[in-house]
């Protein structure tokens, strides 16, 4: 008989409120080693709040959050929240993750070696002395992933890792994340990008205040679940074995438009 390892994080019947407004309710979620989970949902559905609960900075008003002893979590914020004119080099950003020894602000040889190893792993070692603004979108995202990885996390949490990036950069990021996950790193990310990201993940959660669907994308991404999650009609097509989500055209509006054009 094999013993299942203790999960990294387990949420049971979690409820969160901002003031009197309930933003999450009845959340049950288990995150195990090497899991790769995407959270999808409309704006205001509670995605960021759920990430904050997982990070431990938002205590729920009801329910329980159980963490494995010694759990280390790395966090990658949305790049849109970064102050890109801040005078820091790539190396300085990555080093932020390393705690400072008392009265020794300068990094030691070991710190520099660890930064170089992490940047090399992500393919950006040559950028260590560059200012963060002088990088491409994909390189910028890698810098913040490197900072999170320097703390040797068991779980990486990312808030919208592909927001505001082009298609090529999105491909770069999703491949990088898949490689890190294949190395055994568990990941949870939030995303708005259903076709570009969510359908490529092994497990997704449809969230709108509560979990409306969870599982592999092919099982979860149905018109019913998507309509319940987003409050708008959507169709799910299939291409090369992958689901593709499209907005369902509003026939009435379309007809009106054509008839106006004809007149």
């Amino acid at each position: 008989m094999t013993v299942r390892p203790e999960p990294l994080l387990r949420l049971h019947a979690v409820r969160c409120r901002y003031g009197t407004q309930t933003v999450l309710d009845g959340i049950d979620l288990t995150i195990g080693d090497s899991d790769f989970i995407g959270i999808v949902g409309p704006s205001g559905s509670g995605k960021t709040t759920l990430l904050r609960v997982l990070l431990g900075v938002m205590p729920p008003v009801a329910g329980t959050v159980t963490r494995r002893d010694g759990l280390r979590i790395g966090y990658v914020p949305q790049v849109e929240t970064i102050n890109w004119s801040f005078p820091v080099t790539v190396g300085e950003v990555v080093l932020m993750a390393r705690q400072q020894r008392f009265m020794r602000p300068r990094a030691n040889r070991q710190d520099h070696a660890d930064v170089e190893t992490t940047l090399r792993r992500l393919g950006i070692a040559e950028l260590v002395d560059r200012h963060i603004r002088a990088l491409s979108g994909g390189q910028q995202q890698r810098v913040f992933i490197a900072r999170a990885l320097l703390g040797a996390p068991h779980l990486l949490i990312m808030d919208e890792p592909t927001s505001g990036v082009d298609v090529r950069t999105r491909h770069e990021i999703i491949h990088l994340l898949a490689e890190l996950n294949a190395d055994g790193l568990a990941m949870v990310l939030s995303t708005h990008d259903l076709n570009g990201i969510a359908t490529h993940l092994p497990h997704i959660i449809c969230l709108n205040r509560t979990i409306l669907g969870a599982g592999p994308p092919r099982e979860v991404l149905t018109s019913e679940v998507l309509e319940e999650t987003y409050g708008a009609p959507m169709d799910v097509l299939e291409h090369a074995g992958m689901p593709i989500i499209v907005d369902r055209p509003r026939h009435g509006a379309h007809t009106t438009h054509l008839s106006q054009g004809a007149s």
């Binding site: 929240t81 932020m96 009265m103």
Partner: protein, 285 residues
């Protein structure tokens, strides 16, 4: 030139003033890096005005300036930090509400007590000529404490200044770090206020880091450069004040501004493009 530099050193009070202005300029330049990068440039202006209220109370009740104004400034700074953390109120609005109320309180006391008026004028416009031994000790002590704290908390300070939310998630006590920064700032303003004056201290906090930022893309180098520019402006500004018989606060700020203008012109994109074109032509030749 040597005479221009050496003549003022014959007087003990000018030597004191040169020392205090240089240290105060460097100290404001150093802390100004954190203030400007956190987008709180207005805080120096606000806190100096808040401390003015405390100074007015000290003069009215005969309390020691540094003790009374220090406690008052500290309370104002912490109140600003606390109000700012409530996200519905922006930092600029929090500073505006708390510090201007304190300044208005000082002005009201000015109107009520004649003796307050005399001692407060020096606080408002700065006076280097009457620098006491106590002022020298305070500026040296505040600078030493600031340096020790910045070295001791270098990375948490940098992380909190760069990205407060992620720093908090990563285990940095950001509220504590912000409170420490506010304490250092209050100390620096308090120690520098007599030489720079309430009305001009904000410039000493903002101009050196902005100038330094145009010269470097490294945080570490920005700290050194900003301190050096601030100290240089303090020293030269004080010399100018002595030779031209102008208020020291004004000359220090004007030297700071001159440094800013020179660096701004030298690092303008058009000039950099011209320089790189000339370099390319030389390379081709």
């Amino acid at each position: 030139m040597m005479q221009w530099l050496l003549d003022p050193l014959n007087y003990a009070f000018v030597r004191n003033a040169l020392f205090v202005c240089t240290i105060a300029g460097g100290l404001c330049g150093l802390l100004g890096v954190y203030v400007t990068l956190k987008g709180m440039s207005y805080i120096g202006h606000g806190l100096s005005h808040a401390i003015f209220g405390g100074a007015a109370i000290c003069a009215a009740v005969g309390l020691n300036f540094f003790v009374g104004a220090g406690i008052w400034g500290l309370a104002s700074g912490l109140a600003v930090a606390r109000v700012t953390r409530r996200r519905t109120i922006g930092a600029d609005a929090a500073i505006g509400v708390i510090t201007t109320a304190s300044f208005a309180f000082g002005i009201a006391l000015l109107g009520l007590y004649a003796r307050v008026k005399q001692s407060i004028e020096a606080t408002l416009f700065g006076s280097v000529l009457g620098i006491s031994a106590e002022d020298l000790i305070v500026i040296v002590a505040v600078t030493a404490v600031t340096l020790v704290v910045i070295i001791a908390f270098y990375r948490p300070l940098l992380f909190t200044t760069f990205d407060t939310d992620v720093a908090e998630v990563s285990g940095v006590h950001t509220a504590r770090i912000e409170a420490i920064l506010m304490l250092l700032l209050c100390g620096a303003i308090l120690a520098s206020m007599r030489v720079l004056g309430v009305t001009l201290i904000a410039a000493a906090l903002v101009i050196p880091p902005v100038t330094a930022r145009m010269l470097t893309t490294s945080f570490n180098r920005m700290l050194w450069l900003s301190s050096a520019i601030g100290a240089f402006a303090g020293l030269i500004g004080m010399y100018l004040s002595y030779h031209l018989d102008i208020s020291s606060g004004a000359t220090i700020v004007l030297v700071n501004f001159a440094a800013f203008a020179v660096v701004y012109a030298a690092t303008s994109p058009a000039r950099i493009r011209r320089r790189s074109r000339a370099f390319e032509q030389r390379e081709r030749a």
